[in-house]
Symmetry: C2
Subunit: 136 residues, 2 copies
DNA sequence: CTGTATCCGTTCCGATACTG
DNA sequence: CAGTATCGGAACGGATACAG
């Protein structure tokens, strides 16, 4: 335990160090992973079950073909989704969550719940402070 | 409930829709907010209690003065932290979490716990797939 | 001590065109 | 259907210098 934390209560220490940990490196690794605007939404969408590329493209609103491909490639590389190619004409490719991928859903839910509860208030604040610039 | 979700089980529907919600807009709002590399670390650091600008600069490893200022200004604008200026020489400015800011800690913990559990495996996968650069 | 202003390279990502 | 390739604008963020 680092000296600065000696006087914190156990619960505070647990909070602080679990998040800040190794100088934030572990947390930043996952943030780098999920914070690219699309990853979490793709994972959440795949929580429904196996989906084809085209289905994902339809169900994740606003994602471009390029970003969907890149996102899925990263998720596959990290072992969060599986990619199954069927040698048919026309081609069919199916994506599904691995157990590791599924395990990301509950933390994502916690974040989503927080967002649903607090984002409206945050946006109201922003609107108050920048009356001209709102949601485009 | 949208037509595509009619046949999902209630729990699946709850999962999917709580995350994907309004086309992912609410979730993306908070992701845009916390995914800027520093916000979550600053919030986690402030979980200790009130801190001065210089303390934060020391305790968040690697953050630049500029990014700390910008991050704190955004958090203040969104009502997650308070900023208190004391008219002294030299000046003293203290930052603290608001209740809304504190409420972000538990979801952040859930994410951090996931990262601590799974990031090592993910990095091992990446290392396997990119063994070395420059092998002849 | 607590910032602001400016420069500037890097990364992100949308649009578009093309392919098996 | 399921990608890949390329371009270019925009945003991110580090370094540095300057200021109240």
């Amino acid at each position: 335990m680092c000296p600065r934390h000696r006087e914190l209560s156990p619960v505070d220490y647990e909070h602080t160090c679990r998040i800040r940990g190794d100088g934030g490196r572990t947390l930043r690794t996952i943030l780098d992973q999920i914070c690219n605007k699309w990853t979490l939404l793709v994972v959440a969408t795949l929580d429904q079950g196996t989906l084809r590329f085209g289905d994902l493209h339809q169900q994740v609103p606003g994602i471009s073909q390029r970003m969907l491909t890149l996102t899925l490639r990263n998720l596959e590389r990290d072992g969060l989704v599986t990619r199954t190619v069927y040698a048919e004409v026309p081609p069919r490719v199916e994506y599904a969550l691995t157990p590791v991928g599924k395990s990301l859903i509950p933390p994502a839910l916690a974040l989503a719940a927080w967002a649903i509860e607090h984002v409206p208030g945050i946006e109201a604040r922003r609107a108050d402070q920048h009356p001209s610039r709102g949601t485009p």
